[in-house]
Symmetry: C2
Subunit: 285 residues, 2 copies
Amino acid sequence: MIDKEKKFLIVGLGLIGGSYAMGLKEAGYTVYAIDVDPDSIAFAKEQGYIDAGKSEVDPALLGRADVVILGLYPKTMIQWLKDYQQHLKPGAFLTDVSGVKCGVIDQIQGLLRKDVRFIGSHPMAGREVSGVFHSDNRIFQDANFIITPTQKNTQQDIDFVWDIAEVLGFLHISILSPREHDEMIGFVSQLTHAIAVSLMNCNDNTHLKEYTGDSFRDLTRIAKINENLWSELFLLNRETLIQEIDGFAAELQNLREKLVQGDEKGLKKLFIQSTQRRKQFDRTY
Amino acid sequence: MIDKEKKFLIVGLGLIGGSYAMGLKEAGYTVYAIDVDPDSIAFAKEQGYIDAGKSEVDPALLGRADVVILGLYPKTMIQWLKDYQQHLKPGAFLTDVSGVKCGVIDQIQGLLRKDVRFIGSHPMAGREVSGVFHSDNRIFQDANFIITPTQKNTQQDIDFVWDIAEVLGFLHISILSPREHDEMIGFVSQLTHAIAVSLMNCNDNTHLKEYTGDSFRDLTRIAKINENLWSELFLLNRETLIQEIDGFAAELQNLREKLVQGDEKGLKKLFIQSTQRRKQFDRTY
C-alpha cells in the first residue's frame, strides 16, 4: 500500500486526470492539480476531487508533490516536462496515462532529471465525453491497467505504479513492454476506431437513421472521437496501425472474393470461425 | 385492426416465428405452427405460444389458416411454397420475414396461386441466439418493420401487414421498394456483419482477450453469426453488398493514406466528420 502521507499532483485535469483525482481523494490521499483551464480547477475543488489546484504552473505546488500523474496529451506532456521538470521534488515518482508508449517513454526517460523516476502506464478506460466535468472513477472498475516498464525501471517502480492502480480499483493490472503494448493497442483500440470512423464516413448515411438497428449503432459508437487526442495517438503508432489496417483489409477482401465467386461453403467457414473466436471474448464476470 | 376470428399459421418456428406466435397469442389470436423439429412444436405448445402445431405439413392445418407467416430461410421458403401452396385456404394472406427482398419476392409472386395474396415484409429484430426456445416478442418494441410492396400488391395488402406489425408492437413501420430495402440492408446490416466477421478473423487475437475493452467487444458482437442463414442472405444480395464493401474499403484506405503522409490535419477532418455524423444516430427515445 502507498503511504497515506504521499501527496499527488495531477497535471492535466481532463476526464482521466479528474477520475484519478476522485479515486485518490476517496482513498484518503492529498491531491493537487494543475490545468490551463481555471474552470476545470474550480470545478474539481468544488466537487472535492482535489485539495488545491492552479491554472498556471506553480513551482511551490510541484515541489510538494511526491507522485506526479501526467494526464496531458503525449506531445504536450513531453514539452511540459522539458519546461518545468526543474521544479519537481527530488526523488519524485512520475507516471503518465497515454494510449501509446514507444514514442513517448523513450523521449521522457531520455530527457528527465536523474533524481526522479518515471514509469509508463496506461489506464484502458474512457468515456465518449471528455473533460473533468465528466469525471467518474467507476470507469476503472471493469478496466485494464497496463504497466510498461523499460530497462531503466526497477521492480520498485513497477510495484509503486501497481499500487496506484490498485488504489484506483482497476479490475486487471498487467505488465507489457512498450512495444507489446503498442502492438496490442494498435489492434484492439486503434484499428477498431479506424473502422468505426471509416464506416461513418464512407457515405452520407444519415438518411438511414430510422432504419438502423443496434448492430450499426454498436459498430459506430466509437466514431465519436476527440480529434486532437486521437490524431496524435494514431500518428505516434502509425507503423503498427498501418499494418493492422492492412491485415483487416486483406481479410475483408477475402470475404468479398467469396461473394464474387458465389462460394457459399467458403462464406460459411468464415462465419463459423468468427463465431467460435468471438465466443471466447464474452465476458464471464 | 385485424378481425379476432382470423387464424394465423407460422411456417418455420425459429426465433422470429416463435416471437411472432407469442405476440399474436398475447393479442388474442388463434395461432398454428408447422416446423420440421418436433421439439420446437412441443415447446411452443407447452409455453402457450401456439394453439396447435405439426412437425410435418398437414393439409388440414394449412386449409384453416387465414394468414400465413413464412418464417423459413429464403430458399427453403420458395421450395416450400412450390410444394405445398395447393393446400392454402382460398384467399389466404401471406407474408415473410426475410432479410433480403429482391431475389425473393419476384420468385414468390411469380409462382403463387392467383387467389392468394403475398406481400414482403422484414421485421428488423433479432438476437444473438436462434431457435424458438429463445423467443421473446419484446425484441419488437424498439425495432423497425419494413413493408416492401411491388406493383402486384394493393393498398389493402399494405394495410393488412401494417396492422400485423402494429399488433406485434413494432416501434416504427415504414414502406420501401424491394430495391431500396436491399440497398439499405446492404449498408446498415450486411456491411456491418462483414466488417465484424473480418475483424474477428483477421488474426488469431484470442490471446488479446484480457486487454480488450468495450470498443472491441461492441464491434465484434455480431461476429457471432448463423452461418446458414447469413451465407444465404449475403449471396442473395451480393451485388449490393460488394458495392458497399468497396465504398467502405476505399474510405479505410483514405484514412490509411493520411497516416502514411503523416497528415494530422487530414486525420482531424475525418474524425470531426465521423463525430458529427454519429451524433445524429444517437437514440433520442
